[in-house]
C-alpha cells in the first residue's frame, strides 16, 4: 500500500500551506530524510521531508497550490503499486470531547409576552396580562425594585404596581413592601380624570402619570394585534326577547338557591356552543400553520383598576349554563381582587367582551392574539322592530364579531355568527 504524504503542520499556528516547488518528480527514488518539496507556511518557507523510502509514485498537488493541512500531496511506494485517489481533506486529529456551550437561555417571557403570531410550538396563548403579585415588567416603564423587595412582595401578595419607592431613584425597597397593605397597592399612578376642570389657582399643570405595568402591557399587545391582524367585522342584531324571558324564569325559580344568571352568562354559553358547531373559528394563526383547538376555552373581559383582564372558562363547551355562570362570577370577583393565577387568565381560545351594562349599543373589539375572533356585546335595547308586517317594540342586542381574516373568511364568520344568534334566539337550546 503506498504511503500518502499529506500537507504537514510545520508551525503551531499553520492552517494552510502553499506547495511552492517540487524537488522530486514522479518516478524519482526517495529515501527517508530526502526533501520532497518546498512548502510555504504562515511563518516561513520550509522543506517537506520524507519519512519513507520508495518511489514517488504520484503527485496530487501542482506547484503553486495552496491546500489545507492534511490534504494529500503525493504518494510514495513501490513502483507499480496502486495508489488510491486521495479523498478530500485527511481526517483531522480528534479534538478532545468538550461540552458544547449551552445555548443562551431565552429569557422566560413574562405572562404578557406571547407574540401575536406564535412560533409553531405549543405556546401558551396569553391575552392581557394580570398584575400578578410580582411580575417582571417587560414593557412600559421598568419598575425599580430591589431583589429582596420583589421577593417579599411576591410572598406577601403585594401589588408593586402602585407603590412609591423610598430608595434611590424611586427604587422600591424592603421597607416599602413591609409598609404596603397585603394584596393592595398605593394609589400612585391613578390617571387623572380628564383635565383639572376649573382650577382654583392661576396655574394649571398637566399631570404626567407614569404608565403602570398593566397599562403598558395592554398597550403593547393591542398595538401588536391591531397592526398585525387583518380585522374584519360582522354585525348581527339578536332578538333578545326569548333570552330575557328564559333568564327571568330561571332566576325567579332558582332565587332561593342564590342563582342569578346574567345575560352575559347566556352569551358565554352560546359562544361555546357556537364554537363547537363552527370549529373553524376556534383556531389560531401560526404563520405556516393553523392550529385548531379541540376545546372551547372562552374568556371574558373584566374591567379592573387601571386596565382589564380576561379570565378564562376552560372547556366551556362541556359546562352547563349554571356552571359557567358560577365560574364567571367567581373569576370576575377574583379578577377585580387581583387574585387570579396565571393559569386562570391564559389559554383562552375565544373572547367575549360585553359593554352592554355600560350602555353601549354596539362596538368592535380588538382581537386578543392568538385567538381568531372576539365578540363584542352591546346593550339590550327596546326599539321598534318589524314583526310580520307590523312595527312593534322589541328587545334587540347587537353582537359584533371581529375576525382574523388570515384564519377565518367572511362566510365562516357569518356562519358562526348565525349559529350564535340562533342559539341566543332559541335559548332553550342552551339548556341541553
Amino acid at each position: 500500500m503506498a504511503n500518502i504524504i499529506e500537507m504537514p503542520k510545520l508551525s503551531d499556528t499553520m492552517t494552510v500551506g502553499t506547495l511552492v516547488k517540487w524537488l522530486k518528480k514522479e518516478g524519482d527514488a526517495v529515501k527517508t530524510g530526502d526533501m520532497l518539496a518546498e512548502v510555504e507556511t504562515d511563518k516561513a518557507t520550509m522543506e517537506l521531508e520524507s519519512f519513507f523510502d520508495g518511489t514517488l509514485l504520484s503527485i496530487f498537488v501542482k506547484a503553486g497550490s495552496q491546500v489545507p493541512l492534511g490534504a494529500a500531496l503525493c504518494a510514495i511506494g513501490k513502483p507499480g503499486e496502486k495508489v488510491d485517489a486521495p479523498a478530500s481533506a485527511a481526517p483531522q486529529a480528534a479534538a478532545p470531547a468538550s461540552k458544547a456551550p449551552a445555548a443562551p437561555p431565552t429569557p422566560a417571557p413574562a405572562a404578557a409576552e406571547a407574540k401575536p403570531a406564535p412560533a409553531p410550538k405549543a405556546a401558551t396563548p396569553t391575552p392581557a396580562a394580570a398584575p400578578a403579585p410580582a411580575p417582571a415588567p417587560e414593557s412600559g416603564e421598568r419598575q425599580k425594585i430591589s431583589p429582596l423587595a420583589r421577593k417579599l412582595a411576591a410572598e406577601k401578595g403585594v401589588n408593586t404596581a402602585g407603590i412609591s419607592g423610598s430608595g434611590p431613584g424611586g427604587r422600591i425597597v424592603r421597607v416599602d413592601i413591609l409598609a404596603a397593605p397585603a394584596g393592595g397597592a398605593g394609589k400612585k399612578g391613578a390617571p387623572a380624570v380628564a383635565y383639572a376642570g376649573t382650577a382654583k389657582g392661576p396655574v394649571q399643570e398637566d399631570k404626567v402619570v407614569p404608565v403602570s405595568n398593566i397599562r403598558g402591557i395592554i398597550a403593547k399587545r393591542l398595538v401588536e394585534s391591531k397592526t398585525q391582524i387583518p380585522h374584519f367585522y360582522l354585525d348581527v342584531e339578536v332578538d333578545a326577547g326569548p333570552l330575557l324571558e328564559l333568564r327571568a324564569q330561571l332566576n325567579t325559580a332558582l332565587e332561593k338557591e342564590g342563582v342569578k344568571l346574567s345575560v352575559n352568562d347566556f352569551v358565554l354559553k352560546a359562544s361555546a356552543e357556537a364554537l363547537r358547531r363552527v370549529p373553524a373559528v376556534n383556531c389560531s394563526w401560526e404563520e405556516t400553520a393553523i392550529r385548531h383547538h379541540p376545546a372551547a376555552h372562552v374568556s371574558f373581559a373584566v374591567a379592573i383598576e387601571d386596565g382589564l383582564i380576561t379570565p378564562v372558562i376552560r372547556d366551556a363547551h362541556l359546562k352547563t349554563l349554571f356552571a359557567i355562570s358560577t365560574e364567571a362570577k367567581s373569576l370576575g370577583k377574583r379578577a377585580r381582587d387581583k387574585k387570579l393565577a396565571p393559569a386562570e387568565f391564559t389559554g383562552g381560545t375565544f373572547c367575549v367582551s360585553n359593554l352592554g351594562m355600560m350602555g353601549i349599543d354596539r362596538f368592535s373589539a380588538i382581537i386578543n392574539p392568538p385567538n381568531a375572533a372576539i365578540l363584542a356585546v352591546g346593550a339590550t335595547v327596546r326599539k321598534p322592530v318589524v314583526k310580520g308586517d307590523q312595527v312593534v317594540i322589541g328587545q334587540r342586542m347587537t353582537l359584533t364579531l371581529s375576525v382574523d381574516h388570515r384564519v377565518v373568511d367572511g362566510a365562516v364568520g357569518a356562519t358562526f355568527l348565525s349559529a350564535l344568534r340562533e342559539l341566543l334566539e332559541k335559548p332553550a337550546l342552551l339548556l341541553l
Binding site: K9, S11, D12, A44, F51
Partner: protein
C-alpha cells in the same frame, strides 16, 4: 570512568542514544500530522550530553532541565509510551496530558522536568541541591540550561546562592550554538562557563559529541559536588540538527552546509558507534538490530498514544492543589475554585 563500563553497559548507552533519536524523529512526524500541538523542541544531535551526564547519576543525584527535555527524560529511564502519549495530550501521558512536550517529569527517577521559561528552572535546580544538603544526602543536582539561558537574571542569582552557600549543584550549559535564532556570538558577552569565575566557582568546557568524553569530563565535577558540596558551571558544546522548535525555519541563521558538516563528522551516535565497533562491542548486525528496535519502539509508542483517550473536562481541575486531590486529608475550608 569509562573503562569500568561493561560491554552491556556500553551497548545500553548506545541504545539509549538511538532510542532518543528515533523517538524525536517519530514525534516530529506526529507533529506534522497534527497529532501534537503547541511547541516541540527536538534533541536530535545532542544525545550524548543527556545520556552521558545522566549515566553518571547515583541514587541521590537529581536532574532538572529546560524545555528541550525529551532526551533527559529518556536518559533517566522513562518509558516511551507515556512520553509520546504526553505529546499527544492524552490522559495516559506522563503528566496526564497536562504538561505537554516541555513538561516531562518523573520524581521517582529524580527527574524534575521540563520547564518552559528560559532560565526559570535554574533556581529550582539550586533548590534541589539545597534540599539535598539540608537533608544531609550525598547527592548533586545537574541543572541543565541552554546557551541562551546564561544571560537571565535568575540564573545569576542561582549562581551566587550556589557559590555563597556551597550547594551541590552542577550548572550544565548545553551550548548548541544558538539561542533560538541568535548565535552565541550575537547574544553573550564573554565565555559562558568562565562567568563562574566571577562567583568563585569551578568551571570547565568540553565537547559533547563523544559520549566517553562527556562522562570523563563530568564525573569529577559530580564527585566534588557530592562529597564536598562544591558547585560548578560546565559548558558542553553540542549541536542540534533541527530548528529551535519544529516551527523554526533555521535557514535564517545558519547554513545547511554547517548542519551537514556536523552530521558527517560529529554525530554523537555515529561517533559512539564507531568507537564501539572498534572496541568490538558492536557489529553491523547489532547496529541494525538496535536501530530497527528503536524505530519499532517509537512506532509502538505512537500507536499507544493514538489509542489513548484525552483528558475530559472533569480532569481539568485535578492536580491543581494537593489538598483538593487528597480530600480526606484536607484541613482548609471554603472554596478553592471559582467557576
Amino acid at each position: 570512568m569509562n573503562a569500568s563500563l561493561s560491554a552491556d553497559q556500553k551497548i545500553g548507552l548506545y541504545r539509549l542514544m538511538v532510542r532518543i533519536r528515533r523517538f524525536e524523529e517519530r514525534s516530529l512526524r506526529a507533529y506534522q500530522a497534527k497529532k501534537i500541538g503547541g511547541f516541540l523542541h527536538l534533541y536530535i544531535g545532542q544525545e550524548a550530553v543527556a545520556v552521558g551526564c545522566c549515566s553518571l547519576m547515583g541514587k541521590d543525584d537529581h536532574v532538572i532541565t529546560a524545555y528541550r527535555d525529551h532526551g533527559h527524560a529518556i536518559a533517566v529511564g522513562m518509558e516511551l509510551n507515556p512520553l509520546m502519549a504526553e505529546l499527544y495530550g492524552k490522559v495516559t501521558g506522563c503528566s496526564k496530558g497536562k504538561g505537554g512536550s516541555m513538561h516531562f517529569f518523573d520524581p521517582s527517577r529524580n527527574y524534575w522536568g521540563g520547564h518552559g521559561i528560559v532560565g526559570g528552572q535554574v533556581p529550582l535546580g539550586a533548590g534541589l541541591a539545597y534540599g539535598l544538603k539540608y537533608k544531609g544526602l550525598k547527592g548533586a543536582c545537574m541543572t541543565f540550561m541552554g546557551d541562551g539561558a546564561v544571560n537571565q537574571g535568575a540564573v545569576h542569582e542561582a549562581y551566587n546562592l550556589a557559590a555563597l552557600w556551597d550547594l551541590p549543584v552542577i550548572f550544565v550549559i548545553e551550548n548548541n550554538g544558538y539561542s533560538m535564532g541568535t548565535s552565541q556570538a550575537r547574544s553573550s558577552a564573554g565565555d559562558l562557563a568562565r562567568r563562574a569565575e566571577g562567583y568563585g566557582m569551578a568551571w570547565g568546557v568540553c565537547d559533547g559529541h563523544d559520549l566517553y568524553e562527556v562522562r570523563a569530563f563530568m564525573a569529577p565535577f559530580l564527585e566534588k559536588a557530592r562529597q564536598q558540596c562544591k558547585p560548578a558551571v560546565v559548558e558542553i558544546r553540542t549541536y542540534r540538527y533541527r530548528g529551535h522548535s519544529v516551527a523554526d525555519p533555521d535557514n535564517t541563521y545558519r547554513a545547511k552546509a554547517e548542519i551537514e558538516e556536523y552530521r558527517r563528522t560529529k554525530d554523537p551516535i555515529q561517533v559512539f558507534q564507531n568507537l564501539l565497533i572498534a572496541e568490538k562491542v558492536l557489529d553491523e548486525a547489532a547496529v541494525e538490530k538496535i536501530d530497527a528496535e528503536a524505530r519499532a519502539e517509537a512506532d509502538v509508542s505512537a500507536d499507544f498514544a493514538e489509542a489513548s483517550p484525552f483528558p475530559t473536562a472533569a480532569d481539568l481541575q485535578k492536580d491543581v492543589y494537593w489538598e483538593s486531590d487528597n480530600p480526606s486529608k484536607r484541613t482548609s475550608e471554603g472554596r478553592l475554585f471559582f467557576n
